[in-house]
């Protein structure tokens, strides 16, 4: 008897709890849209799939590509499907194969870990275009586009500025895994810092730490804290796990240089600038090529020079005029090709 009542009561409680929790959705923000409808009927619709290792609202890697492709859905008449948080490579492989076999025209595999999948699958679906980023190899296949971000360029600019503005001359660099655009960015940042130190004749400490994970926020936060405890007053990092590090910057009143996405909104008082990726131009090129029946064979690089990357200065942060001028000068130098950023 007692048991029955207790059991019933608790079941009700559990159901109520779950119902309440899910009912909260009703008033919640809407999720990312998945299906999009064509707007311009005169061009045939292109089915595009995006596979990414993190969430579409990660304020970094995935969001940059998601925002870019979504912005083109109307003008290019795209039907977009998104599979996010696909960090388990074997499952991503299944999904990519699904999309390919279901007649998608363009499959964007947004993550260097997907390379082996593309290499293996692309030959089986010669009429599907595979776009792979951010590691820059097409495997010599006719239906693979490779894209990458010359994030070392923006890294160089920001590293240069960081070294100039740092009072302690200790910089904190938190990388995820030593690959892809993350490694490029870190290398560029360190190079820029050293260049500033060389020309300004001061010493700067700019060790990079790789946490070993793209997704471990706590580890990134700990990494940032470690740097702060070592007197770093300027921090930077790459990947979707940097929000933890940015939180630390905010709490400890340090400054942050961002990459992949405009991260000023995360900590308006602490983010100096962000290297923002704009994938739209290269996506347009790919889509045009696909419509012209060329499904791959090209490598696209976004950089400071071609509008694919830009340094977005946070208007809410009062950056010293001299540092900003130095940064702008570096940008123009790189754009003009006067400086080759070491990799």
């Amino acid at each position: 008897m007692h048991m029955n009542l207790a059991r019933r009561g608790a079941l009700v409680l559990a159901a109520a709890g779950i119902a309440l929790g899910t009912a909260a959705f009703a008033g919640g923000a809407s999720a990312t849209t998945v299906h999009s409808h064509s707007v311009t009927p005169h061009v045939s619709a292109l089915k595009v799939a995006l596979i990414a290792p993190s969430a579409t609202n990660d304020l970094a890697f995935t969001q940059s590509m998601y925002a870019a492709i979504e912005s083109l859905k109307g003008s290019e008449n795209l039907q977009i499907s998104v599979s996010s948080n696909e960090y388990v490579v074997s499952q991503a492989a299944n999904i990519i194969q699904e999309y390919a076999s279901k007649g998608y025209n363009l499959i964007i595999a947004h993550g260097s870990q997907y390379g082996s999948i593309i290499e293996s699958l692309a030959p089986k679906y010669p009429h599907v275009s595979f776009a792979w980023g951010t590691a820059g190899a097409t495997f010599g296949l006719k239906n693979v586009f490779a894209y990458e971000a010359a994030s070392n360029e923006g890294g160089y600019v920001q590293g240069y500025m960081a070294a100039l503005m740092s009072k302690s001359k200790v910089l904190g660099i938190c990388g995820p895994i030593q690959t892809g655009d993350a490694k490029l960015y870190v290398d560029g940042f360190v190079a820029g810092a050293k260049a500033a130190a060389a020309s300004g004749k001061f010493k700067v400490t700019s060790h990079a730490v790789y946490t070993g994970s793209f997704s471990d926020n706590s580890l990134m936060a700990s990494c940032a804290k470690t740097f702060v405890s070592n007197h770093a007053d300027v921090l930077t990092g790459s990947s979707q796990s940097v929000v933890g590090a940015i939180g630390v910057a905010k709490a400890d009143h340090k400054v942050w240089f961002g990459t992949q996405w405009n991260q000023a909104s995360i900590a308006p008082g602490n983010v100096v600038s962000s290297q923002v990726y704009n994938w739209v131009p290269i996506l347009k090129q790919m889509i045009t090529a696909i419509r012209a029946k060329t499904y791959g064979g090209a490598t696209y690089v976004i950089g400071l020079g071609n509008g694919g990357e830009r340094i977005s200065f946070n208007t809410k942060y009062k950056l010293s005029a001299s540092v900003k001028a130095a940064g702008l000068k570096m940008i123009s130098q790189i754009t003009l090709g006067n400086i080759t950023v070491p990799q």
């Binding site: 048991m3 207790a6 059991r7 608790a10 409680l13 559990a14 709890g17 929790g21 909260a24 959705f25 919640g28 923000a29 809407s30 999720a31 990312t32 993190s54 969430a55 609202n57 304020l59 948080n85 904190g172 030593q178 060790h207 990079a208 730490v209 790789y210 070993g212 994970s213 997704s215 471990d216 926020n217 706590s218 580890l219 936060a221 700990s222 990494c223 804290k225 470690t226 740097f227 405890s229 070592n230 007197h231 979707q240 796990s241 929000v243 933890g244 940015i246 939180g247 630390v248 905010k250 709490a251 909104s265 995360i266 900590a267």
Partner: protein
Amino acid sequence: MSHFFTYSVLTATVATALGLAAPFLLAALGETVGQRSGVINLGVDGIMLLSAFATYFTALRTGNLFYAILVGMGVGAVMGVVTAFISVTLKAEQGISGIGIYLFGLGFSDLLFIKLVGTPLPISTLNPINIPLLDRIPAVGGMFFKQTILVYLAFVLVPVVTFVLNRTTFGMKIRAVGENPAAADSVGVNVVRIRWEAVLIGCVLAGLAGAALLMFDGIFQENLTQAEGFIAVALVYFGAWRPVGVMGGSVLYGLAIAVVLEWKSLGIIPLSASDLAATAPAVITVLALLTVARRFRQPAALGKPYERGG
């Protein structure tokens, strides 16, 4: 290496380690109480995730950190009711039901995160509280007395839980119920009720641990805990079901992580050994396991649902 053995670096490393250890410690203390009463809860990680999200969401919407932490604890309490009901009243298999709760917490916390939070923003987190006078002590002051309130709470709870377990009637009942529930029952202890209470305490502390982790990171993310809750459970075994031992294990683990990060940031660990160095915390714990004498055995009735009579 000489850089490492400087006053300021050592101080900072230990301070970071303690901050890192706090969520582990809170969850592990809660699990200790539950396990002393005979109930294993492997769902700690799921509970931590749910409460971390609740804390984050509340802080995001209200800006009130205290309220947010309370909500986190509240979520822990709700999950405690569910866990206790399943493990104690329904006498379900504790190991497996715990994994079920973990999976549910993992999936549901992220579902809520995706649907309720558009673009995630960091919350303003707890400020460290410097304890006056004590924080001026050379070396030690910087290490121990400049933490946030949740860290202090975690360490203060160690003697509190020890006291409760060893010196109060309630604690005695918990231990009795964990060692020999039939005997305890025969002298009038309400086994079911004591286990319920112990599990509730455990889950509230797990909720607090989730809140502490969230405060440490400043933002929520899918799978924020990265299996930290399981490590907390493992630490209970490591600490031989004694709060002091659990504290030792948590601090050891936190220190291992902090030292590795520190050495990486100072360039002591080269980039090529970066991944191998990441094994250090787990390896150290396993090694320590072997060296610590296995003097203490687990509560005799651990994991065994109690059924009165035949």
